[in-house]
Amino acid sequence: MSPESPPRASTRAAALRGPGAQLRLRAEEAASPLPPLLVQAEQLAGAVLLGEHGRRRSGVGDDFWQYRPVQPGDSRRSIDHRRSARGDQQFVREREWQIAQTVQFWTDCGTSMRFASREDLPTKGARARLLALATAILMVRGGERVGLTGGLLPPRRGKIQILRMAETWTEEQDTPYAPPEHRALVPHARALFISDFLGPMEELETALTKSADRGVRGILLQVLDPIEEAFPFAGRTRFESVTGALAHETLKARALRDRYLDRLADRRDAMDHLCRQTGWQLGLHHTDQSAQAGLLWLHGALGRSAVQSS
């Protein structure tokens, strides 16, 4: 290079010409959805920090709860001498009751979730994963163990588990309408299934009865796009699934609306009925609602089921 044009700062474009650049670029792209999802989920969870998971009563645990005077029946070994030595009275140190729950997650990663009717709306899948991850973060903060159904990620506690879950969810599946995964459920644990539940009803039935057999209770959260609720179509229309495998053509879409909405309501009734039979809870979330509303409902529902189970 001539002295008139000394070396300039290397640009991104120049770096891309290297041999290892393609690999790195792909890796970066693959890694990029993870942090936003985590950050969003953390932010979401931060808004609902005060859960009901603190048991607020004495029991078996690690954290100090209270000193209480020795009562008859307490073993001598339980006397806290450090506290008792300050006076004449003898005290027993009690610890807070801590119990670890297990929550297992399943979110629908099928192609039908990869749909958003407007550009400013998230896809159903993105919203489902966000809600699931935020709930998982809340659970981990509450000391619970979280994991995925299906034996892919057994329940564990700790932040690293969140990362693993997030990583698993970045992988998309190509199944059009994925059936709920109900294998490897820990008995008496709790479960959270998030999907649009537009697939075959029989599989859902199987999943719920199987889990009910193992004493697992949980929550079904149906995530729908607003147009799936409103059906704002008219005229000659050809409806296609995301993969294009399923299609239905009509000459007068407006006339279909009422019958479609009836079928949607029927589907929801059937799910509700199923849930009541198995002791699950059914929730509904639309992608045009705020994620926080969905999270609050989930958190409350999990708390309720915890109280019910204890």
């Binding site: 300039r8 309408y177 005229g235 050809r238 409806f239 296609e240 000459l251 007068k252 479609y260």
Partner: protein, 923 residues
């Protein structure tokens, strides 16, 4: 061409295609709209839902109508419809177009030309050869195809005269000479040709022998303006029109030069034609000063030479100062030396009387000294100056002059000749001989051909000394050859001596009418009436400015002069254009319309058909219909999208954007270069384009960096820098030019050198940068430096010195000791201080208050140090590490100082700043 309802078709058979439209109706309506594709995951719930009602989908009727309309527009458009198709010319004989082409038609010339084009187009359609004859300039007839003649139309212009007898005769001769039959179309301006009625009838007769005549007459009335007359202290303007019609108003403008030399409207008035009146009159009262400035009057709404009245000296009243030696004369009025002058001049001039010392500052046009022998020395000097500046000094002899010793021995500046002692008496009681009469005026005298009344005699006079010059200076003499009036030029003015008294004491000349005419010819007085032909006999008048047919004045160029009587009497023509004529010091205006002219409407023989101009020319409609079809089709595209549901807002926006881009693409004018006005609007740094692209790019980047620094740190906010091409761009718009030197730099052209020197002389600064301080520091001249020496050889560069430590460049904004650029220790040269004033004790600066250095020469490659890229980061490394950054900062500071020096000059040299500077220097 078939025609109905004013619309004709070029290809009417194409209209049969319209019958196919109903068929299309059935074809088009059967096609249903395409389905809309919709992504919908809940399609699982839809499966199995059949349509309850089956509806046949058809194209909506309005969409069908739209399409059929578009198609119909295409068919009709292709059939070539024409609105107002002109009726075909039945005859196939050749066509002669006769045009008056006089000033009367100039007002509506565009219309007339359009009419001619239409007629020629018709003739071309009928395949008739056409000849064109303009009566104001008759030429032999040449029948040519109409297409060829249309091109010649642009050369036919209205002339500022009417066809004269002679022109009509010539035209009639050309008609007789053309040995073929033809029809005639006469485009008349609507005026009868004054004084040539018989010839006109002859011409019509000649034309009738060849074929038919049809007349197309201009129906707009002809209006003319007659020359302005000065009457009772006001200017009288009269307009006339050919046909007395309804009441009409014409705005009248008096035009002339303002004191700044710009022609502008000096006064306005309104000429009001009463209904049925042929003339209208307006009186315009103007102050003398303004009146003298008026050069012409014109009707503002009539664009014709006839609507212009040129004014000449008649409107101008000269200031004449009358001075006699007999102050406070209580003698008889008739004996006063000034009495006859007063009588002669009062109607046509403003007379000033008093003492010379009082009158001279009033700058009169003429000063008359009646029998004044001696003037005080200072007044004489002032008078000589006044005459030299163009004044006319008119002296009369008398007893005092005869008795004095004025101009006896030597010629005096204010006396045309030397005088002999005592004068001469003829025909008195004590002398022999009879009183002498005047000899006829010689050719070359301003009085040439003036008629001399017999009763004019001279009894006494002062006599001129014989002299070699005498013969040239005599302009009038007695019958025996003694000089009576002598004249001499003095500077731009002249001194005229009448060898007799201004009263009737010595001669009867002041009693005669000849006296007044002589004064007029000497331009002492200006005539109030138009001169008649005999008055101007023997004079030759040179045209100064002439009028064209539209009433615009233009320079007469090299047109030959005109004899005086012809100027008054002859008809206007190619030899005598209306305009302003000059003879000696006198000016006369020749107007299109003479005083008292009357405009007569043209009268045609009863068997000749006369029609007006065609009002509605034919207009082809095909293009409009085809474009309407295009618009309809575009609408159809949008409507089809809408119906089939494929219309979405984003698509529509994209389409509109594409359309807008296309429109811009088609209509965008070529990108305008930066105009001088844009460049001048904001301060800009400029760099001279060297032709080496990398050097130019560095210079541009450097100046951009310097501009950024200036904007951030100082109140100087320069706009983006500009590359300057020395041959093309205006240099005065740049206060500083950065000129990087390369060894291959081409030498500027001679013109560029001239511009550079002007630039330097007018306060511009050129900053030469040889960019070689890393090499030439050792004292060896680099190729760039040698090139600079060659280039600078022809520039006005003052003596130079290296920047002294107290130069104002060191403190215009920052306090600097040295001026590094990318290189550190190159010398910087500026203009050497003119003198060497000693430094005051304790003050570190000499008092050098003048002169911004026109050049700064150095080699430190400053542009590279200043250069920044688009993101504002430095482009080139300077020095090493932090020291390098310090060096770059100093380079920037030098740039700031330099620009400040250019803009503020030696402001910081002022002693006012010394205390503050001393404070900052810590002394």
């Amino acid at each position: 061409m078939s025609e109905s309802f004013g619309i004709g078709f070029a290809a009417p058979w194409l209209l049969l295609a319209l019958l196919a439209l109903p068929v299309l109706w059935f074809l088009l309506r059967a096609i249903p709209p395409a389905p809309k594709r919709q992504l919908f995951p809940a399609v699982t719930l839809l499966l199995g839902l059949g349509d309850k009602e089956t509806q046949v989908h058809r194209t909506p009727w309005w969409l069908l109508l739209l399409r059929l309309l578009a198609l119909a527009a295409v068919i009709v458009g292709l059939a070539g419809p024409v609105l107002n198709p002109s009726s075909p010319q039945a005859s196939t004989k050749p066509l002669l177009l006769v045009i008056d082409a006089s000033w009367a038609g100039a007002a509506h010339w565009a219309e007339k030309r359009k009419q001619l084009q239409l007629l020629m187009k018709d003739a071309a359609r009928a395949n008739r050869p056409v000849a064109l004859m303009s009566l104001t300039e008759p030429r032999p007839l040449q029948f040519q195809p109409a297409d060829a003649q249309v091109r010649l139309l642009a050369g036919v212009l209205p002339r500022p005269w009417q066809p004269s007898h002679q022109m009509l005769t010539t035209a009639a001769r050309h008609v007789t000479e053309a040995n073929q039959a033809f029809d005639t179309l006469w485009l008349s301006d609507g005026l009868a040709f004054a004084g040539a009625t018989e010839t006109r009838a002859d011409l019509i007769a000649a034309l009738l022998t060849r074929g038919t005549i049809e007349v197309v007459e201009d129906q707009h009335g002809v209006v003319g303006l007659m020359p302005a007359v000065f009457e009772d202290g006001a200017i009288l303007l009269q307009a006339t029109r050919a046909t007395p019609g309804a009441a009409r108003e014409h705005p009248l403008h008096a035009l002339g030069l303002d004191p700044g030399g710009q022609e502008r409207v000096l006064a306005t008035a309104t000429l009001q034609f009463e209904a049925g009146a042929k003339t209208a009159t307006v009186r315009l009262s103007l102050p003398t000063e303004l009146r003298a400035r008026v050069s012409r009057f014109s009707l503002a709404d009539v664009r014709s030479a006839g609507a212009v009245a040129l004014s000449d000296a008649r409107l101008r009243r000269r200031d004449v100062a009358l001075i006699s030696s007999q102050a406070g004369n209580e003698g008889l009025a008739l004996l006063s030396p000034l009495h006859y002058l007063r009588e002669a001049l009062a109607p046509s001039a403003n007379l000033l009387e008093g003492r010379l010392a009082d009158l001279l500052p009033a700058k009169p046009d003429v000063i008359v000294l009646a029998d004044v022998a001696h003037l005080p020395a200072d007044q004489e000097e002032a008078l000589v100056d006044w005459v030299t500046d163009g004044g006319l000094l008119l002296r009369f002899a008398g007893p005092r002059l005869a008795a004095s010793d004025t101009a006896r021995d030597a010629e005096e500046p204010l006396m045309p000749v030397r005088l002999r002692i005592g004068g001469r008496s003829i025909g008195g009681a004590m002398s022999w001989g009879d009183p002498k009469a005047l000899a006829p005026f010689a050719e070359g005298s301003p009085f040439f051909k003036l008629e001399i009344p017999e009763e004019v005699t001279v009894r006494s006079q002062v006599a001129a000394q014989p002299d070699p010059e005498l013969a040239n200076r005599v302009i009038a003499e007695l019958a025996d050859g003694t000089p009576l009036v002598t004249r001499k030029e003095l500077g731009q003015g002249q001194v005229v001596l009448f060898h007799v008294t201004a009263n009737a004491e010595w001669s009867s000349l002041p009693l005669s009418g000849l006296f007044i005419k002589m004064l007029e010819r000497l331009a002492v007085s200006s005539a109030t009436k138009a001169p008649d032909a005999t008055d101007l006999a023997g004079t030759v008048w040179q045209p100064i400015e002439v009028l064209d047919g539209f009433g615009h004045l233009r320079d007469a160029g090299t047109q030959p002069g005109v004899a005086g009587p012809a100027l008054i009497e002859a008809a206007s023509g190619p030899d005598l254009w209306p305009g302003v004529y000059q003879s000696g010091k006198r000016r006369l205006a020749r107007n299109v319309l003479p005083d008292g002219a009357e405009l007569q409407p043209a009268v045609w023989p009863p068997d000749i058909p006369v029609r007006a101009f065609e009002a509605s020319p034919e207009r082809p409609l095909g293009g409009a219909l085809l474009s309407a079809a295009l618009v309809l089709m575009a609408l159809d595209v949008a409507a089809s999208l809408l119906v089939s549901g494929l219309w979405s807002r984003s698509k529509a926006a994209k389409g509109a954007a594409a359309l807008a881009v296309a429109m811009i693409f088609f209509h965008s004018p070529p990108a305008p270069a930066q105009t001088a006005a844009e460049l001048a609007a904001e301060l800009r740094l400029g760099h001279v384009l060297t032709g080496d692209s990398s050097v130019d790019a560095t210079a541009a980047a450097g100046l951009r960096g310097l501009s950024d620094v200036l904007r951030n740190r100082t109140s100087v906010e320069p706009a983006a820098p500009v590359g300057v091409n020395l041959d093309r761009d205006e240099l005065a718009l740049f206060s500083i030019l950065y000129w990087p030197m390369t060894a291959q730099q081409p030498m500027p052209s001679a013109e560029a050198y001239g511009r550079l020197n002007t630039y330097l002389a007018n306060g511009g600064m050129i900053f030469f940068d040889t960019r070689d301080a890393d090499l030439s520091g050792t004292g060896r001249a680099s190729p760039a430096a040698r090139r600079l020496q060659q280039i600078a050889l022809s520039l006005d560069i003052p003596p130079l010195e290296t920047v002294p430590r107290d130069h104002v460049l060191t403190r215009t904004f920052y306090l600097l000791q040295d001026f590094p650029g990318r290189h550190l220790r190159g010398m910087v040269w500026v203009e050497a201080a003119a003198s060497e004033p000693g430094a005051t004790e304790g003050v570190p600066f000499r008092q050098l208050n003048d002169g911004v250095t026109p050049v700064v020469i150095g080699g430190n490659d400053w542009a590279s140090a200043w250069a920044v890229d688009a993101s504002g980061a430095p482009m080139y490394p300077v020095g090493r590490g932090y020291g390098g950054e310090r060096q770059r900062e100093l380079a920037r500071r030098f740039g700031v100082n330099l620009v400040m020096h250019v803009l503020t000059g030696n402001y910081k040299s002022d002693q006012v700043h010394v205390p503050a500077l001393l404070d900052r220097l810590g002394q």
